[in-house]
Amino acid sequence: MKNIMMIIADKPEHIPLLRAAIARIEAAGAARGSDMGRVALGRDLALDRALGGGLPRHGLCEIVPAGLGDNAAASAFGLVLALLLGVPGAVLFWVYEDFAASEAGLPYGPGLWQMGLDPARLVLVAAPRALAALNALEEVVRARAGVALGEIFQKRGYDLAASRRLKLAAETGRHACVLVLAAAGGTEQDFASAAATRLEVASATSAPLEPVHGRLAIPGPARFSVRVLKARGEGARAPPEVRHIVAFDPSLGCLVDAFSVAPPAHSQDRPRGAADAGGRYAQSA
């Protein structure tokens, strides 16, 4: 403390030294105060229950599109997860392979704003190849710079070793890393990796507003159809055949179940209990 006082009493050139000292103190505090908990993606969300209480705050989460046409939905869902996993105001690094930009388009600021991401928080990194993109992702999360969203088309360089590097970097750097594997859709979803979570994302039909006067209906808010392919950790129970239809609500800042009421099922498909219950009510009436 005496040293610092001496520095203050001295010249303004010493301000950078003070600044560095404060940065060191802050960094140490941040390292002590953080927890390795999970982040719930919404309030009372079925998807959260399937994941065992949400996604790990510091870790690697993989997203694969269900089909070739679902790349836009997969990257948008990746963006939503990256938003939810970062602390408010943190910088988001979006690392994409060049091929992804030509195939699925470049990130577009006005649309991102409407989705709830301030483009001022966004840093875009275009990598020439998948390997360069993975290296850049690792650099970002290891350096504690912010949440990283990666988007790669070539799955060849991404294996057990590469995913473990990413996962360890994310845990060391205490930031989340969301990786969209765009080419892994369809039959190539089963591959080995060290990630704790793998989600399959498809676009789901929105609930369109009613058509008027023979015109086409107007599209409603976006929905995602999410399937949990892999979820590690206690409490996670994820039968892979269940599809969760969720929507992102930018005003609430969380995911919501798109169907608050389950759709009616045909009677022969109804579970046994439901049929029994119906019979009992029929009798009592």
């Binding site: 050139e13 046409g69 836009a72 275009a126 350096a143 912010g146 599209p219």
Partner: protein
């Protein structure tokens, strides 16, 4: 220089030839050829008649220019201020640098010896100003004047030099010779007005320059750095880890030097001079001023790792390492650079800690050094209605987008896609609905059926900017059966009806 590749006996003359007005003429001569009475500009047939054994090669202007640039870059090992001067000469400002090499005479000997080792013959003249050095290098027996020489003595020293030492055209030299003026002394002692009237004022300007009565500027090829530190070694360094150690020491020296002046570096250049004359420069830029050696070293390490990829191998080793700060800024807090400190509408959002902002800029610097500054970008909103012009990717190294000047993002009234194709792609439409929207469309060979749509939203191009404006576009937001949502637009083509394009994607 094709002939240079084939081995030749040392006593065989070699010349390059160039086609001038339809005839092959000698362009450049080696030392042996110039002693045989051959001159550049002589016809090839005449030269062959005099010396049938003359080896010739066609002059390659591009390769010669590259070689010249390489030598010019190499000359920076003696001084940071190096200027090009004609096709075969260079000007080095060694003011205040000569004593580092043991004085002017030793410096001249050193330059000649090092160039000779690379295979170049050279003459060196050192004088109190560029014009004098130019004349001394070409026409003097004693080509080095002490820097302390009095200007009044120069007319006496140069009196016996030929008038060509004034760096004037050959025609003017011939005109002067016709008038009987062959030496500089012949001119300098004559009245100036008649000379200016007959030969032009330029002649007298040159004379004034030579005598130091007027100073001409020299335009250095490389900007002088703000701060510079260097290390020289008797032997070339070859091992990468040794080089890195010394670069680290240089970084510490540079930081100490800059801190003493309250400055930090925005751009640093590491120059490595190889023993055999090759020069390699590595440049790294930073988004925030660098004033600590560690981040500086990390940036340089990114570049040094790829040192061998650029075609320059370590070879015999590097004997001079120089680290320069070519762009500096005061070491002070720059609030707008702190990433994410304010939202784009100027409101404070939960500010990340100071440490985190430092981490962010460090990562931006490293990734920019590795991938190139154009690959690490931030989005800036522009004042344009045309969707592809409304957003610009700006290198993240140049800092966060300016707050307040740009239109805030939230002004975008209609729904916009989150991804935009760099170039709209043509779409094949199949059945048009009454609204004008297709019921089916084929894009990238996949058929989509539209179940819901919103539009049209008409967007006009910036007709006041481009001379031949596109026609208006009608944008639709369309959803297909699977729930994929697209941003399509229709454009009226002159005489061909409407054409449809895919432009972006909604989540």
């Amino acid at each position: 220089m094709r002939a240079a590749a084939t081995p030749k006996a040392p006593d065989e003359p070699l010349a390059t030839i160039a086609k001038l007005k339809g005839a092959w003429r000698l362009a450049g001569l080696d030392a042996r050829a110039s002693t045989l009475g051959l001159r550049s500009g002589m016809g090839l047939a005449d030269a062959r008649a005099m010396h049938p054994g003359l080896l010739v090669a066609e002059a390659d202007a591009v390769a010669e220019a590259a070689l010249y640039d390489q030598v010019l870059a190499w000359c920076r090992r003696f001084t940071p201020l190096v200027a090009a001067d004609g096709p075969d000469s260079m000007v080095l400002d060694v003011t205040g640098a000569a004593h580092l090499f043991g004085g002017e005479a030793a410096l001249g000997v050193d330059i000649i010896a090092r160039l000779a080792r690379q295979g170049f013959g050279a003459r060196v003249g050192i004088g109190p100003h560029p014009a004098a050095a130019w004349a001394l290098a070409r026409f003097a027996h004693q080509p080095i004047l002490p820097p302390t020489i009095e200007m009044a003595r120069l007319p006496g020293i140069f009196a016996d030099f030929p008038v060509a030492a004034l760096n004037i055209s050959e025609d003017l030299v011939a005109d002067l010779a016709r008038a009987g003026l062959r030496r500089i002394g012949d001119i300098s002692l004559r009245p100036r007005a008649p000379l200016a009237a007959r030969f032009g004022a330029d002649l007298l300007d040159r004379l004034d320059h030579l005598f130091g009565q007027a100073r001409g500027p020299i335009s250095p090829r490389f900007a002088a750095p703000d701060f510079s530190v260097e290390r020289r070694f008797a032997d070339g360094l070859t091992r990468e880890d040794v080089i890195l150690t010394h670069v680290g020491a240089l970084a510490r020296e540079l930081c100490a030097l800059m801190t003493r002046h309250g400055q930090g570096a925005r751009k640093i250049v590491l120059t490595l001079f190889r023993v055999d004359g090759a020069v390699r420069s590595l440049e790294a830029a930073a988004s925030q001023t660098l004033s600590a050696p560690d981040p500086m070293l990390r940036l340089l390490r990114e570049k040094l790792e790829r040192l061998n990829e650029g075609g320059v191998e370590t070879g015999y080793g590097f004997d001079v390492l120089r680290l320069e700060a070519t762009q500096t800024a005061p070491q002070k807090a720059d609030q707008t650079v702190l990433a994410g400190a304010t939202g784009s509408d100027g409101a404070m959002i939960a500010a990340p800690s100071l440490a985190e902002a430092a981490f962010v800029s460090a990562v931006i610097d490293r990734l920019s050094a590795r991938l190139g500054a154009v690959r690490v970008t931030r989005l800036h909103l522009q004042d344009s209605h045309q969707p592809e012009r409304a957003v610009r990717h700006v290198a993240a190294l140049s800092g966060a987008p300016p707050v307040g000047r740009a239109r805030p993002w939230r002004d975008a009234a209609w729904e916009r896609p989150i991804r935009l194709l760099a170039r709209p792609e043509a779409v094949e439409t199949l059945a048009l609905l009454p609204d004008g929207l297709p019921q089916h469309f084929r894009w990238r060979r996949v058929l989509h059926r539209v179940v819901a749509a919103e539009g049209p939203e008409r967007i006009l191009s910036d007709w006041w900017k481009s001379p031949a404006p596109d026609t208006a576009r009608d944008y639709f937001r369309a959803e297909d059966e699977a729930g994929q949502r697209f941003w399509l637009f229709r454009q009226q083509q002159a005489g061909a009806g409407a054409t449809w394009f895919m432009h972006g994607f909604f989540p």
